[in-house]
Symmetry: C2
Subunit: 430 residues, 2 copies
């Protein structure tokens, strides 16, 4: 279950006034945040973490009410698990905020600076984006993570979570807003939308004058609806259909370990392998061993004809399987003639998320790296490493499969832009 | 006159097939361009320049036909001037392409690279965006400039110019396509839309599967219509309402020279000053001299009440004047109480393009630089320097007042994105 998609043009009109007011409050707060120094922001973050700990009893109580409703509405066990807060999970949320406080402040960094022949000193200086609208589903920890990342990077946040976790989110938000205010920062630096009406969301997506970017997190249909309707730039990834290609010159022991890790270590993540592509010249040697091991771990295999000739226990793959993001213990397998066919397959069916090659041959690796147009390209390692933490970015804002602004795992730096600052002493243009 | 705005949802449906085919041809060409090395791209660029020179007679002939039509349709003299090609203008187009050939190739640059504790070597490598759709008005030189910038950065271009210059553009395009093919690059690396139907444009704006970015250049209403309809990310600037603020601690001789330069040197550009803000404590000393000088140069002044008390020849400014992008010898003038009021004025009425302060006081300069949220902030120099060439970027792709991806003047680098490349030797995630 995901947050309801935004409403249509008719419904949103009634909400335009309220959406505009929310945007303007955020814009005003954002202007104040520009002037906040790192110590103040970090103090607010640490107060947020402490607030979650001391307020844990209230959070658990509100969360219990959400869970009771969820059970009444017969939501799935997986869904209820995602929704559930425990003392341990609250402690994890607090620690995550403290880690964000430890990150280097991206604001103020001089990205480049140089002096022009006429003496103008030109600098590109990193500044906050301004106002970030995040739309997400039912995990309450996203509320504190996203607010903390926004504050660290000097942005005002507008948070719109799933309605099934609304009471938990509002309780978390009260803690965050108090911490922010306690440091003299504007409380509107973190706003929580308490009305789940999808037409209000639709109206928010038209506030391009005051909101700088929308980050939708959730299922593909929600994200597509947001991208379709928003007049504000959207950073997103629709899905992760990640491939591992086993080249004929690959180390097959390494290939087996990588494929097993990429599929089984955590199958429900967007960077798990969904399709395995195997060079025809190693298929007979490689497929039986990896297929047996995957099957033993409960993975359902769906193979092309050539795969099934070698490992008949695999079910036949259909055209849809090549496009599928299973997020589960299911794997599509295809035997390919050569590297080019693997690259073409990825271009056609892939999602530009993360794709890997296993090969000892430098030319083939170079060609794969150059020609696979994905946000992350892995060489002789698992697709599961495609992650902000693993890349050393600290807490992850999300993953972008867009090409503009930020691509792949995004950290706090990706919640910033730059301004050009030009220092002169009276230069005139001639 | 600007290119017709895109059509509506009803009209575009008939064109979706053709738009899809155009996008897919560009995508295929873009994949081939990824593998083209810098020497090949530069050779194609030099051949383009030579082709324009040797084909000048044909270009002038086709251009004459466009001009004859424009006269029949009674287009304005300014419009016909923009449309007109001469031998000198063609030579300038050729030289501009040769300058682009001289630029450093942004593709392949390793933006950052580091090794993680587990031995993974992580690189962010600059790569082409892919396919760029540029929508522009009647200047035929944009056709060659945009195609050259696209090719240099490894992108396939789809060009959609104004219908009044269609024959000129098609003639230029034939030259460009031949040059590209002559170097063994795919001719679809540069496609020119030869059908001015606005519903086809609307259909192109829905090809987010194959087109990576849209750059609309033209009047504000066109750009708004494109941003509204496009499901592809758009990089744009609506307008340039640039301010110069004269602080009470500013050098008034310098201020006079800067304001005169910013308004008069080329009034029709987006980085010309449109509103002058003057601190009340220097208004009596500063306004008479600058107003007299501007008036003598034919500038029409529209002032607030306090301005008109000091310089009564100024016409009264209305609320609309503060929002106005005159692109002409007209200037709005407002006396402000202090720096904060100047900053608030810019936040309320500005366009986030370019704003300047003239002050000798470091604290006020620092506050202005921090709190004015514009793509370029100038200190003691003219807003007219806000330009890719003046910033040393080489030929300019355009100016962005958006915050995502690129902000302010954009060069070839801004037609690229990056991919993460991760080199391992069998690392697994645990």
């Amino acid at each position: 279950m995901e947050p309801a998609a935004p409403g249509d043009a008719g419904g949103r009109e009634a909400w335009m006034g309220e959406a505009q007011a929310i945007g303007e409050r955020a814009r005003t707060a954002a202007r104040a945040l520009t002037a906040a120094n790192t110590n103040t922001k970090n103090a607010a973050l640490r107060a947020m973490a402490e607030g979650l700990r001391t307020g844990a009893a209230v959070l658990l109580q509100e969360n219990a009410a959400d869970i009771a409703d969820a059970k009444k509405e017969k939501l799935s066990a997986a869904m209820i698990d995602r929704l559930t807060l425990t003392r341990e999970r609250i402690e994890k949320m607090a620690r995550s905020i403290e880690e964000i406080a430890e990150l280097r402040d991206p604001v103020g960094e001089i990205i480049e600076g140089y002096v022009r022949p006429n003496g103008l000193a030109i600098q590109r200086v990193r500044v906050p984006l301004g106002v970030v609208l995040t739309i997400y589903e039912s995990r309450p920890n996203v509320t504190s993570d996203v607010a903390a990342l926004g504050l660290k990077s000097g942005n005002a946040s507008i948070l719109r979570g799933g309605k099934e976790s609304l009471r938990s989110n509002l309780a978390i938000h009260r803690v965050l807003a108090e911490a922010v205010q306690g440091q003299g920062l504007p409380p509107d630096a973190v706003q929580m939308i308490d009305n789940p009406d999808r037409d209000l969301l639709a109206a928010l997506l038209r506030q391009e004058r005051t909101i700088d970017v929308v980050i939708p997190r959730g299922g593909e249909s929600l994200i597509r609806a947001v991208a379709e309707q928003s007049t504000i730039p959207v950073i997103k990834h629709y899905k992760g259909v990640c491939h591992v290609y086993i080249d004929e010159l690959g180390d097959l022991d390494m290939a087996e370990a990588i494929c097993f890790n990429a599929k089984v270590q955590r199958a429900a993540t967007c960077n798990a392998m969904e399709t395995m592509l195997v060079h025809k010249n190693v298929a007979v040697r490689f497929l039986p061993r990896i297929c047996r091991r995957l099957t033993e771990s409960g993975v359902e295999l769906r193979g092309c004809e050539r795969t099934r000739r070698i490992f008949p226990a695999a079910k036949p793959a259909t055209e849809e399987d090549w496009y599928a993001e299973y997020l589960d213990l299911v794997l599509a397998i295809r035997v390919v003639d050569d590297l080019e066919q693997a690259i073409d397959h990825i271009a056609r069916y892939g999602s530009s998320h993360t794709d890997a090659i296993v090969s000892e041959d430098i030319r083939r690796v170079q060609q794969f790296v150059r020609d696979v147009d994905s946000s992350s390209v892995m060489v002789n390692t698992s697709t599961r490493f495609s992650d902000g933490g693993e890349y050393g970015l600290g807490a992850e804002v999300g993953i972008s499969t867009d090409k503009l602004h930020a691509r792949g795992p995004m950290g706090v730096r990706d919640l910033t832009t730059y301004k050009w600052v030009v220092y002169g002493n009276g230069q005139l243009r001639t």
